[in-house]
Homo-oligomer: 489 residues x 3
């Protein structure tokens, strides 16, 4: 029977190759069901078996048929699965939403304990190759229940930490002592790679919610946690060293070390008592109860004067020009957008920056205009101009979306709630905003002749369209001529 | 028949694994045709069927044979395809000309209308993995007929625009107005990513030819065009937004918007009237007809004083040290080489820069010396030194070639025409030129002992070879001893 | 029989898909051996064949069985190979030692002649994807026998050259002459990309050993050698140009050129006479015999004052802040560690830098603590904290190891010899050292409450562990309580 195997190999290879050239595959499949010589042969042989009784023959013929059916089913199934697979690939290539990340689907849980969790957004390039430019950024969300302790660790990544909700104490190990920093919502701080840190949720009732942007310094797009102090859970990094090494380094007998590294078993986020929380408060400066140590977060975006504000929304930016040198070195900007309910941002794009946006609060809607992400691009002749398709998503707290440079987009608050979005804008050097509606938009800034040529339409008519005095934020309402017909976006 | 499938699975997996270890595959294939027990069995069974007539038996035996042949054919075919596939891979690895790009073969047409075209050079890494270092540069050529309008768009890339031929007006949207710049041949300008721009060929007769070096800011090696103003062709990016959003943003009823975005249908490059051309001219400064607005291109390389010039050629360089800070930031230099007919550049290489060269005019010849690009490299033992092979190409206008750092090369003008080459030199920081012939070449700069040791030849003899007083450009003629025998390079 | 092929295709595709969804595969395999309808059918058919003699039937039944066994064997084999393959992949993913490079296994020989050899460490990413961050660094070791000449060449890479052992003369071609530099052990020098250089082992007896860190400027992770002057071996880069070009460029008849490029046949490293060695010595300054030209290496690390030193070890650092601007531009630091016999470095990690370490002399032991490199990481739910495993290796001269940032590690000298390690530290900007033992370690710097919480252990007990006054280097000895029981690390 070894030959059978060899022949099967031949067949297998033949089809592997056929598979590679899809054309051949297609051809074979077309004729697949039309005629089936094997079935004919099978039935013929049943008839030929002279020694068969009529009953034998029927059984034999039925076997032929069932074999045939079985195989057809396989072909069908294969075709279906093939198609599904193909569709998946297709989707991957032309993922309708390469820029929108769902809270449940696109995050993975790194840590989950009684006390809280750390969830990490998937690698941007796992979502889409189009996000290659921001491959080395990773977003993580830390959630900690009231009065919990997030145990000491360091990362092989620069960390930009933003306090979304709740009130934290951050402990950072510096040289020979621990610096303690109280954090309030809106506080942002840069933690250099490798710095051991711990976090306390100092609030007795409220959950603590932190966004952490990681910029790995070792392997691009990959960061790890290292628990220095710890035990069995979280496991201490020291547990990897042999006892000899540990004993020699720490000058402590094995028995004592075993006890030390065997105590901690509560996981990396756990509940602590009110007394412990108090004891962890900064003490340096005179202060009121419970935490009065001057906040040392590098800045608080909520308390900063907005860059732009009108009745429909507010934009606050903290960027390289504005403040700390680390923002410049990381080529980063933090922005906070608060869109009033029933209002919208203008249609606009960034020239250089990629926006990594996290919906903090409220509900709303997002639309991005994208050049088709099909295989159109470079290799094929496409005599005309590209076409654009809409990426849209309903926004709710916890969702993340990315807007690449050059791509016009718009965000709209729902009827009932303001929409609050916090953005890490990366590659922000030289960035400018260009708008399509409101004061100083692209169309109104074009000279009249170019306008007429571009639209093939009299410039007075074009001008009629693009005139409105507000900029950046507008009410989301139909033009007066159309009121009453307003539908949901 | 489900078992059959299971068994086939077993067989399939077995061979998949066999396939993985090529050795096993090799072994199996060797014995494949030698003896075929299945054929023997098949024929044996034909004979065994006692109830068969002689005719039945013949048919049966023929079936066995045809089965056998079918399978042999499959094996052959598979082997052939396998070999072809292998050869392809092989060719890919050792592409004889990874550095030369043909005007027809290696460009793809992004836009082609009555008015003109935009062609984009393939991604450098699509040509060869060796070009990975310049992956994020893309070269595009815009050609526009006399009196045409290239409609407004922006790119998600930094653009370095060089006016090769013809006379353009460039409109750049800045803040609240459009800046207009007249371009002449030799003008170069940097357009920051995201800036909306339009282009006019203001010449009544001559074609406009622009080279655009794109440096993508979003996805590495990939850039897109976004038509802000537009209609159906070019399609406006605004077309991707829902009517609600557009109506709310532009405060214009749907009907009016539909009309506006339905007019433009002429494509993205189209013919315009002389009056329109005039109306698009810069008007700021007093000027003569037809365009007198002061040229604001950052510089004109044709009007710059050459860095080096002799009777055989001329080299003009504009680099970071020389002029604008954006050249420094983009780590870029522009050079223009004009080699006199029957002349040549010296054999030389750049220490750091990669040269992306575009033949502007004339004909000539290129030779580059390359370390073998085979799999020689790192994994195998190759006890001796590398060997070098010649990459050569006949040059004509429209061709592009790349010269990586460290690789010695030479360009030669034809007998009848000067050879004009414009180069974007990238990664230019710290770059130096090293030559192998002419004044101060590598060999003549070596001390005599090293020279003798290197060539294993008396240094007087070596010195005899490398002495000539010219540098950079020479006549392309044989040494006096050899005149009359001159052949085509 | 063509149908058969088609059916096989169907089956093959079906299983390919089944394969993709491992679940399905698992299911199929479970039931594989349990019942085999095909065997039943086969045997049934043997019995049915009424015309068969009893002997025929036995043969037939035996064939069924042997077919069955054959297939089972295939399944087994396939399963085994599958497992092996899986294990391999597993190993690849979890390579137990992605950071340790053996002198024989992980280097390839680029050049090997009578006079010496050049060995190049494999690309870091070939060893492990985790090393992607240092992909563009390549380490080479040059070994040259006494009184040899390493013939002139240039590289398409920045080269940082470190003289490990022996005494060299380095010739660098600058503008119109050759600069000569004498090198002593500990000397380090930066050679800009493209600079032609030759090397002389000026010692009559001792071998010369140089480490060269290459930072490619053309294709990332890939560098090439170019022999300008040369002949047949090493082959001159000029050999790739056509005779016409060479004759025209060098103004020398072909015959003479052929002779010139035909002499050198000794390879790229060869023995030279004492007279030649003397003649290659620097001559500029008055000096004693044999070489007195002032050393111009940018610095000598062995003669620098150590950054830290105690009885157990010595650390010398030369970094961006310390000296030459090229270290800053290359973002590089050189360190030299000399650990006294029976001593160890503290357990510590770098915050930003990746250490590429070369064992120069002595023997010892290395341990690194690594977060598990399994597929754990991002996509799966792993409710608890990561676990760490030990990477360990016995060190001997010629071995290379890498320590990524954030990873705690320790090096220990053997009982008999000091351990001498030279390190290229890359990505060194902002780097800090954090220690787990000795003065100012992470644990002792934590405030007491955090310490107690982290270890779940009274802080007095924790403090008892981490108190020792030395820093950086300690004796490698068990705590006094445990002496006498000391085992090999």
């Amino acid at each position: 029977m070894a030959t059978r195997a060899k022949l099967s190999l031949a067949i297998f290879l033949f089809f592997l190759l056929a598979l590679i050239s899809n054309l051949a595959l297609g051809k074979l499949k077309e004729t697949e069901v039309e005629e089936d010589p094997e079935l004919v042969t099978c039935k013929h042989q049943c008839q030929q078996q002279r020694q068969y009784t009529e009953s034998d023959k029927r059984t034999c013929l039925q076997q032929c048929d069932s074999m045939k059916q079985e195989r057809e089913k396989q072909v069908e199934e294969e075709t279906r699965e093939k198609e599904e697979e193909h569709q998946e690939q297709h989707e991957e290539e032309e993922d309708e939403n390469p820029y929108v990340f769902e809270e449940d689907k696109d995050f993975s849980t790194r840590v989950e304990t009684e006390g809280g969790s750390i969830r990490v957004l998937k690698k941007f390039t796992e979502k889409s190759k189009l996000l290659q430019g921001i491959e080395n950024f990773r977003l993580a969300i830390l959630e900690a229940r009231a009065h919990t302790f997030v145990s000491p660790r360091h990362f092989d990544s620069e960390v930009v930490l933003f306090n979304i909700k709740g009130r934290a104490v951050l402990g950072l190990v510096r040289e020979s002592e621990t610096e303690k920093i109280t954090l309030e919502p809106g506080d942002m701080i840069h933690i250099p790679a490798g710095t051991p840190l711990y976090i306390v949720n100092r609030d007795e009732n409220e959950k603590l919610l932190l966004a952490m942007l990681h910029i790995p310094v070792s392997t691009p797009g990959k960061f790890e946690e290292f628990f220095g102090p710890g035990g069995r859970d979280p496991e201490s990094v020291l547990s990897a060293f042999s006892w000899n090494v540990l004993q020699a380094a720490l000058q402590t007998p094995k028995g004592k070390l075993e006890r030390l590294f065997n105590q901690q078993n509560e996981g990396s986020i756990f509940k602590i008592s009110r007394e412990r929380v108090r004891a962890l408060a900064p003490t340096k400066k005179s202060s009121w109860w419970p935490f009065g140590g001057e906040s040392k977060a590098q800045f608080n975006i909520f308390s900063k004067r907005p860059t732009f504000s009108n009745g429909y929304g507010r934009l606050t930016e903290v960027g390289p020009d504005d403040e700390k040198s680390w923002l410049q070195r990381l080529n980063l900007m933090l922005t906070f957008t608060n869109i009033t309910q029933r209002s919208m941002s203008t249609i606009h794009y960034n020239s250089h920056a990629t926006k990594i946006a996290l919906v903090m609060d409220g509900r709303g809607h997002l639309q991005i205009s994208c050049p088709h992400m099909s295989s159109r691009s470079d290799s094929k002749h496409d005599k005309s101009s590209p076409s654009y398709h809409r990426i849209s998503a309903d926004l709710k707290p916890g969702m993340v979306f990315v807007v690449p440079p050059g791509h016009p987009f718009v965000t709209i608050a729902s009827n009932k709630e303001n929409l609050l979005i916090i953005c890490f804008e990366v590659n922000v050097r030289d960035n400018k905003k260009f708008t399509f509606a409101g004061k100083d938009n692209i169309v109104s800034s074009l000279d009249n002749v170019a306008k007429e040529l571009a639209f093939n339409y009299p410039s007075e008519m074009v001008n009629g369209v693009s005139e409105r005095k507000e900029s950046l934020f507008f009410p989301f309402e139909l033009p007066s001529e159309e009121r009453g017909r307003r539908a949901v976006a």
